[in-house]
């Protein structure tokens, strides 16, 4: 009994200490970024670089801690969400976490977070060099004449690249014979062996093959043209404006904070983030990885994740790969 009493007293004192701390101007101590993917990956590298820059701005350290596992990064996301909404815990993530809820790993929708988007490498449509299509229009017209005759490769069903392929089909009216591979790299291999004619993966993933002339870029699946090593890759939206209804669905690397965190804290973080995004190491990283650096925060960033959540969740549900009906989570179609 005495011991319990003692523990209670300690707890109360500790709580009082914490609440006293909260009145000091944010940030008063180090911040932790719980990152849902492994060390060394794209999300990890980008987050670590941005966190280092933000630390300079905020005057405290930001420690990145990789907590992996679950479905769609659910273990790390769950852990970050269980921490108090005081701005001392961030959650490093990427677009794929939006699938955690429908896969039964996360009980909330994505609207419990406020997102900070660093950027990502956009997807593009490329064909093998010996394919008879020189523009996106030639490819789509050929596919329309003979539906499902052209083999298209991308990573597994339900992945970001597969969703891009589906959206490209819907927006252009073409139909392809979709062949799923274990990874983007495997689908690009298959293009090299001639098993598939077209691949949809990100610029970063295709970069070496594009440089070597082993893939011919036809069109970007974003509204803007892309400058690849001085050469312009046109946007597919020009030839098929209908694409804007379904696209873009881009890789979005960034981090999030609980939405119920104090506004003052969010503002402070957003300012530091904006400054960090202009730093040289970030720009260099972006150029090396063929990233479009975004630096989006607030409503703009949240809208992007809302859309991703809807498209990913419903596509997975339609494929039979989701455990939880998006409808029960209240995710609009």
């Amino acid at each position: 009994m005495k011991r319990i009493l003692l523990m209670l007293i300690v707890l109360v004192v500790a709580l009082g200490f914490v609440s006293a701390q909260a009145e000091v101007e944010y940030p008063a101590r180090d911040i932790t970024n719980i990152l849902v993917w492994g060390a060394g990956g794209g999300t990890d590298t980008a987050n670590r670089l941005v966190m280092a820059e933000m630390a300079k701005e905020l005057g405290v350290n930001v420690n990145v801690n990789n907590v992996t596992g679950g479905v769609g990064g659910s273990v790390g996301m769950y852990e970050a969400f269980a921490k108090p909404a005081d701005g001392y815990t961030l959650c490093g993530l990427s677009e794929s976490v939006v699938t955690a809820a429908v896969q039964g790993g996360f009980g909330n929708r994505m609207n419990v977070w406020d997102f900070f988007i660093i950027g990502g490498s956009p997807d593009l449509v490329s064909v093998t060099p010996n394919a008879p299509y020189n523009t996106i229009a030639e490819l789509v017209e050929a596919a329309k004449k003979n539906p499902k005759s052209i083999r298209a490769g991308s990573s597994a069903a339900g992945s970001i690249h597969h969703l891009n392929l589906l959206a490209f089909e819907k927006g252009s009216g073409a139909q392809f014979n979709f062949i799923p591979y274990d990874s983007s790299a495997a689908s690009q291999n298959a293009a090299m062996t001639g098993e598939v004619t077209l691949v949809i993966t990100s610029v970063q993933e295709q970069a070496e093959l594009l440089k070597a002339g082993k893939l011919r870029p036809l069109g970007m699946l974003i509204p803007e043209d892309f400058d690849f090593m001085g050469k312009k890759i046109p946007s597919a939206f020009k030839a098929y404006p209908g694409l804007s209804e379904y696209l873009p669905l881009e890789q979005q690397i960034g981090f999030a904070i609980r939405k119920d965190a104090p506004e003052a804290v969010k503002t402070k973080l957003q300012q530091a983030f904006k400054v960090a995004m202009t730093a040289d190491p970030i720009k260099k990283f972006g150029a090396e990885r063929y990233f479009t650096l975004k630096g989006l925060v607030g409503k703009e960033a949240n809208d992007i994740f809302d859309k991703l959540e809807s498209v990913f969740s419903w596509t997975l549900w339609d494929l039979g790969a989701a455990k939880v009906n998006p409808q029960t989570l209240g995710i609009p179609r």
């Binding site: 596992g69 597994a156 339900g158 014979n177 790299a185 495997a186 062996t193």
Partner: protein
């Protein structure tokens, strides 16, 4: 890349490793650890690489590769210690070495035997390395002919051949465990249509059965039970005098070294079969082709050279399909594949485009590992042999703990333990009934590859089986598979006997 550039990359790799004290420490440390793993009966190269894989997770890719290649090379070599000193091979790959090494040790020539083994192993590794450099690009170019159909056939062939070769009993037993492995690989959501198969509604099985806990369970647990059950009494190790690098002997055995190295590389390159089979085949061939077959089994240096060169050159051989096609050539190479994936390196035909110089880098590490192995071997043979005096009852529990940590550390999942332990118990009983375990593990590793590629191939051909016969590489593979299958049936053997009698 031209030759000069390749040499440049090779030497810059070597220089970057030897100029970094921490990498050198990792190199020698892991090689020594490998030798100890190899020398202790019950611990295998596969288990060594498996347990180290999870530890290298936080290292840089280069440091991880140095550590893993070091332990691989060291463990394959270290197996000979037990063979020579105790007549208990430390690893299966050193079993043939025991036939010659132990009689030599009994004659008081243990030092000579160890010296010969050390040099032969180092030479074997270096020859294997040369083949990695020469053949990986060639096979990678050939791999451009490999589409889903060919990959299916190759994976299937790997399971079949590892079943046919690694079984001491009848081949059918090998095939049975191979197909059991294939079945285990089917558990989880399938890769193409994300449909759950055999998951019994369990969330943890959704992502499939992980290879690492299966490997650790299948190779570790039965060993632990067996060694503890047998109450293996450690024999008094034979005395060692000086360990002289017998250069004169090496000169006399050049012919055997070359032949054994070629056998080792060739067998290593075949998916799924590894060092133990390389050593036996090489030993057998040496005996058959020798001028003095009667001397074999009495402590003959030719036999040691044949076995030890082959099992170490097999390492290089096993790396060739791993790097060029992403298909592991031996069980430890299968673990290496897992480790490479952890570090974001995807072996395959695109490897040289995505990571130019990677193959050269691996061969540089192999060369350094063989040198480290030679140095450690020469310096420490006497000390390492003392380890053999440690009773198994003391180190086996340590191994058991390592097995548990190793399985858990990967993804920090307790579920892996529930997977690893029953797998270990299952394989223990299978081993007792004479079913070989390597085909089971190869089945688990190559199973999903066979499954996904067959169905992907059918998606590509829109349901037609014709590509099996119209694609040249596929047809050749198909014929090899049919031949492997038919040649192991009774009808074929009777038919062959009949034809031979007529002729």
């Amino acid at each position: 890349m031209n030759l000069v550039q390749q040499f440049g990359i090779f030497f810059s790799n070597i220089f970057s490793i030897i100029s970094s004290p921490s990498l050198l420490l990792i190199l020698f440390g892991s090689t020594l650890m490998g030798i100890i793993f190899g020398a202790l009966p019950g611990l295998t190269a596969t288990l060594g690489v498996a347990l180290l894989t999870t530890l290298t997770y936080s290292m840089s890719t280069q440091a991880a590769l140095v550590a893993l290649m070091g332990i691989y090379v060291g463990a394959v070599y270290g197996g000979s210690y037990g063979s020579i000193m105790l007549n208990i091979p430390g690893t299966a790959s050193a079993a043939a070495t025991a036939l010659e090494g132990y009689p030599m040790a009994l004659r008081g020539e243990a030092g000579k035997a160890l010296g010969l083994t050390t040099t032969a192993s180092a030479l074997g590794t270096i020859v294997g390395m040369t083949f990695v450099v020469i053949f990986t690009p060639l096979i990678a170019a050939l791999a451009m002919q490999f589409t889903s159909f060919e990959f299916f056939l190759l994976a299937f062939f790997g399971i079949l051949i590892s079943g046919s070769i690694s079984c001491p009993d009848t081949v059918q037993k090998g095939w049975i465990t191979g197909f059991l492995g294939l079945f285990i690989a089917m558990v989880g959501r399938d890769q193409l249509q994300v449909y759950p198969r055999f998951t019994l509604g369990m969330m943890q099985l959704e992502s499939g059965i992980e290879v690492v806990p299966v490997l650790i369970g299948a190779f570790g647990i039965p060993q632990i039970i067996q060694v503890l059950k047998d109450r293996q009494v450690t024999a008094e190790p034979a005395k060692i005098e000086k360990i002289i690098p017998s250069f004169g002997t090496i000169g006399r055995n050049v012919k055997h070294i070359v032949r054994s190295a070629l056998i080792g590389v060739g067998i290593g390159a075949v998916p799924g079969i590894g060092e133990d089979i390389a050593a036996w085949v090489s030993y057998g061939t040496a005996k058959k082709s020798s001028k003095f077959p009667e001397k074999y089994g009495t402590g003959f240096e030719e036999g040691i050279v044949a076995s030890e060169v082959a099992n170490n050159s097999c390492i290089g051989g096993a790396m060739i399909p791993l790097l060029s096609m992403g298909i592991p050539g031996s069980p430890p190479a299968a673990m290496l594949l897992g480790a490479l994936m952890l570090h974001g390196v995807a072996p395959g035909p695109m490897l040289e485009i995505e990571q130019p110089g990677f193959t050269i880098g691996i061969s540089a590490i192999l060369l350094l590992a063989s040198m480290a192995m030679w140095i450690v071997g020469m310096l420490l043979a006497k000390q390492v042999v003392k380890l053999l005096k440690v009773p198994p009852a003391l180190f086996m529990p340590v191994v058991a703990v390592l097995c548990l940590i190793g399985s858990y550390a990967l993804g920090l999942k307790v579920f892996n333990l529930y997977l690893m332990i029953p797998m270990g118990i299952l394989t223990y009983y299978l081993t007792n009934m004479g079913y070989p375990i390597p085909p089971l593990v190869i089945g688990v590793i190559l199973g999903s590859m066979a499954d996904a590629n067959l169905r992907r191939g059918l998606m590509v051909s829109q349901g037609s089986l014709a590509p099996f016969f119209t694609r040249p590489v596929a047809l050749i593979l198909l014929l090899i598979i049919v031949f492997t299958f038919v040649s192991n049936t009774g009808i074929y053997k009777r038919l062959l006997a009949k034809i031979l009698r007529k002729a």
